[in-house]
Amino acid sequence: MSLSAKSLKSSSSSPSSKSSPMSWASFRNSMALCIALRVLLAFGLEFYLSASATSFQQPARFSNITSDNVYYSSSSPSGGANSVVELITTGPGLLSASSPLTSYANLKEGMWLYRCGVDVYADGRGRVGVSPLYLSFSFLPSSLPVLSTTEPSHLPNIYKFLSTLLEIILWITPDALSAWFLVRIWRARTRRTGMLSMSSSSSTSTSLASSSPDILLPSLLPALYLLSPFHILPSLARFTSAWENAVLLGAVAWGCECASSADVAPKVDGGQDTDSSSSKASSPTRSSTSDKPFHSSAQSKSLLLLALRIHLSLDAIILLPPLVMLILAGPGSRLMDPGAFVLATPSSGKQQDVQVEAESKAKIDSNAKTDSGSESKSKSNDETQAKSQSPLHPQTHPILRAVFPVILEFLVYFAALSLVSTLIVGHWGWMGSTWGASLSLPSLTPNPGLWWYFFTEMFDHFRAFFLVVFEVHLLMYVAPICIKFQHDPLYALFLLTGILATFKPYPTLSDQGLFLVMWGIFGEVYPFLRTPLPALLTLLHSTLLQPLFAHLWLTHGRGNANFYYATTLVGACAGGMGVVDGVWGGLRCALEKGEQGKDSDRESVDEEWEESEVVTQQ
């Protein structure tokens, strides 16, 4: 609780120019309420289960009879769950079960082995797939009541209580952080959009800033995140994916701020309230007059967190191009005003002419690059910058010059993290165990994704081929989405989150939940979604049936794997519908703007536009 209070304080210390103090109060209340609910829920479950399972606490008792046919009742695994982790992961059946990369048991096992000096990553193909960075927790004293790998028997109950409490807090913290980051992202986007609409054309009066519920959303977003079962369950089961989400959202939040705050800085400075010198890193830099330090500070944090996220699971690498674009272009909603990729400018005064100039360049650029390869695309997207700031090399393309340092910085962080991991482990073998696990899929444990059953049933001689196909398929979305949404990299990033949740090798509920909750940021596309309800219902269908079928299959021995597999297929369809709808809505927004721009006397475009009227053509 103390942590959340701190975060609240720091977030409330930087109110946006557009949101009223009222909304921040409601945000604070909502956040506190949600966290309290979560803590209560976690505690309640823990203690309810431990109370109801006291009879199972002891291991199976055996009499001294030496006959071999004595029947005895078995203990916890079948008798009843005596911890929430067990309940979630084994009880009702394997919700997003234990992906080898995220499961709590593997984390603890890895830490235990590491503390014992066993080489966890021997031969690079070990079973424990947790990142070496998690193993650095092993340096904590093992007597610490949190993340302890041993169960001290003689210690009093207060120790157990403390341990439970700390673990609950440790796994609610990432969710609270995520919620806070989410609100910051939303705020940066809103503010930036307001800036854009003010500076470029006043005609886009129906931009997000004015149309979205300014009061409601900051209080809804935390609730959306913290009270979503997609996040509660992984957190109860102590999946590390909760932390991975927080890291990713942190990267995005700071990525949003490094461009947007640069613009807003002079304005906000005046309106800064008294506790602007609070501890959060954004505050002191904002009060400084030069934009550059702030820019690089937020950018560094963002890139560092993304490097961390990619380190923890390699799949997030597809989020790198949109995040770099986001850092360079800012989070503003330009869905209604599509155009070429535009670099954010330090001062809004210059914005317009630079934009025009850059736009024309990027147009040529992106057209030229459309048919080129995927990786070069993201770079070419970022090529639009130029900026009079660098008169030294006027011949090199401005975007390239802007992208290069960002990529370089990311690579430095990534290399540094790899180095740290290698230092922790002692050799390079960890790469095979952690990143290799995403590539070669050694564990076929059921999860909500598509991979496990596909590669369970795959013929051996096609296995390598299809592994490559599935990997490449994941990469294939990056370039098109980044090109098409080059005017709004945050939206591109959001869509790629959905792709990741649907198609990554070891998805968990958290990934789906992240995609789901990020919808909250993009209120402007809601009117244009075609199938939001079917997609949501499909997702619900899949999510509700998954634990049921897994339980039937694995615990009761009724039904078989196909039932669970079918629900994961439905889940993939739901994710796919979500992504398709997101793409559609994001593109459809532009039409709205065009319509409005042409005859401004029209009030609004009705949502009930038939599809036949909105013509798309290839």
């Binding site: 199976a60 001294n64 084994t90 794997a561 993939a572 369809c573 793409v583 909105v614």
Partner: protein, 561 residues
């Protein structure tokens, strides 16, 4: 031509006179023991010694000059395998059934783990050379014994050093010796294994003790197993072929009599001794109490053991024991009081708890029957399909958590689809106590091609092995005697074997559907086209856009972005 002929003559002569050749010896021995539960344990040992022979130095494998394979008694087929792969020591056992240590005591041959177990000591400089030879010897023995030893591949191969010390000696070649051990619990011994086994004996089954090895009766026994042991001592190479079985005369006779004899249990008698055997002995352990009669009258009784020498008298041997009264099962020792004294210092029970197909708990219950503290070396060689969570190890001694009772854990992690886990630790058993070792395990999900043909039956897990360590000086007879726990059967989740095509098609369809939809939308451009009002005169010039037919929107061409 002449020289060849002379050579042949020489070879023939030497083989004729080889009966007196001192470099090769063959002796056979049968030990018989009546067990407490009325069963009778037979242990056949056929030992062939090759004096002054040494195993092949692996460095000589490159030279094709191994001409020392002229054997008379020593089994040539086995010798060739041993020479070709430069095996120093080899143990192969094929057993069926569960050896009941509590009722039967220690077996004469300690390797009684269920299924096939193969281990070999090999010298070598490089691991790859050892692994290659290990694979070669596996396949050769599989061919020799008609057993599925080829399945003892690297997914089952471990190298636990301390549990399996070399039984003989290791030559000092300046090369490190490596142990390879593999066990396969679901491999069962059968007649097809016994037939090639008997062919390795100099007298086959035509004379001597091997006459008793009637497959119909051996494989009918409650417990039976055959073993091959090759070891080197400075005196020479020794090949020991063993057959152990535990028969139940109560069941065979159909009465409550525990009387047994060769003819009743094997349906055969020893009609003539093996002429090339140096010794041919039978020893019968006499019951400690009760009224009984051993026939024929033993010529020699020493320490409660009657010895017969089959080579002495040329007669038909039908050794047996009779009891005048019916057998009474001493049930008291099971429930009320301990057997006094216990046959084994500790008893083991090992179970896999949990009913789900993704998790479980390995539980081992050890009871120390002695007053002294006992230290056990505990070895698990677990296929990777069962994955240990070592941090969940809990040791309870008489219901109190005692994590200090486990020490010296050494653990080699499994590699999915490739390598089993090797877990060794030392368990301390306080005197007269029961300790419970529990550890959570995860059950793997296998590719559909990795499942055995009868996948729903489950997987046999190899037995755990416990070896008492030197702890107290008082009673050291059982030190180093391995105790095998029964094997376990684990139920793994199975996919639907009938639908690989369906799954591939379904998944690919969904992926293609999503991919297509996303790219369909992505490659479109949204534009609004205003129709000329005169084209649709009925369209009102109003503001509502959703009048369907009079829509101001229509197709127009757009560029593919």
């Amino acid at each position: 031509m002449l020289r060849t002929g002379l050579f042949l003559v020489f070879v023939l002569l030497s083989s004729v006179f080889c009966l007196e050749d001192a470099t090769e010896e063959f002796e056979e021995h049968l030990s018989i023991k009546s067990l407490k539960d009325g069963r009778v344990a037979f242990s056949f040992t056929f030992k062939t010694s090759l004096r002054d022979a040494i195993p092949r130095d692996p460095r000589m494998l490159a030279f094709d000059n191994d001409d020392s394979q002229h054997y008379t008694l020593f089994p040539l087929t086995l010798g060739q395998i041993l020479r070709q792969y430069a095996i120093t020591e080899l143990h192969l056992t094929l057993n069926a059934g569960k050896w009941n240590y509590d009722a039967w005591g220690y077996p004469d041959e300690p390797d009684v783990g269920v299924g096939a177990e193969l281990r070999a000591w090999m010298a070598g400089n490089s691991i790859s050379s050892i692994d290659d030879r290990w694979q070669g010897v596996r396949n050769s023995l599989a061919g020799l014994f008609c057993a599925s030893l080829g399945s003892l591949d690297e997914q089952r191969t471990t190298s636990p050093r301390s549990t399996f010390p070399p039984e003989g000696a290791l030559p000092d070649w300046g090369l490190p010796h490596e142990l390879r051990h593999a066990s396969h619990a679901s491999e069962h011994v059968c007649t097809e294994n016994l037939t090639p086994f008997l062919k390795l004996l100099p007298c086959k089954s035509r004379s001597g003790l091997a006459m008793l090895l009637n497959p119909h009766r051996i494989f009918d026994a409650d417990w039976h197993g055959i073993g091959l042991h090759v070891l080197w001592r400075p005196e020479g190479v020794e090949v020991r072929l063993s057959v152990q079985l535990v028969s139940d005369p109560l069941r065979i006779s159909g009465q409550k009599k525990q009387d047994w004899s060769f003819s009743s249990l094997f349906d055969r008698k020893v009609e003539k001794a093996c002429p090339v055997a140096k010794y041919s002995r039978v020893s019968v352990e006499l019951p400690s109490s009760g009224v009984y009669r051993v026939y024929p009258e033993p010529p020699q009784v020493k320490d409660g053991i009657a010895y017969y020498d089959l080579k002495n008298a040329n007669e038909v041997w039908d050794i047996g024991t009779m009891w005048p009264s019916d057998f009474e099962y001493r049930i008291t020792h099971l429930a009320l009081s301990k057997p006094n004294p216990a046959l084994v210092p500790f008893s083991v029970r090992r179970n896999l708890l949990g009913s789900t197909q993704d998790r479980g708990q390995l539980s081992i219950v050890l009871t120390n029957n002695e007053q002294d503290v006992l230290q056990l070396l505990y070895l698990e060689t677990m296929p990777w399909i069962i994955q240990f969570y070592l941090h969940t190890i809990r040791v309870h001694a008489d219901d109190a958590l005692r994590d200090d009772l486990i020490s010296n854990i050494s653990y080699i992690l499994p590699i999915p689809h490739a390598r089993p886990a090797t877990f060794e630790s030392v368990l301390t058993l306080p005197g007269r106590s029961t300790i419970t070792f529990t550890m959570d395990v995860a059950k793997a999900f296998l590719r559909y091609t990795e499942h055995p043909p009868d996948a729903q039956r489950g997987w046999d897990l190899p037995p755990a092995i416990f070896t008492p360590l030197r702890q107290s000086s008082r009673n050291s007879t059982y030190l180093g005697k391995r105790v095998y726990s029964p094997s376990l059967l684990v139920d793994l989740a199975t996919p639907d074997f009938s639908m690989p095509y369906n799954v591939i098609i379904f998944t690919c369809s969904v992926v293609a559907f999503i991919f297509g939809s996303v790219f369909n939308v992505l490659t479109r451009k949204f534009i609004v086209v205003r129709l000329e009002p005169q084209k649709r005169p009925e369209s009102p010039p109003s503001k509502n856009l959703d009048s369907d037919e009079s829509g101001k929107l229509d197709t127009s061409e757009s560029d593919v972005h």
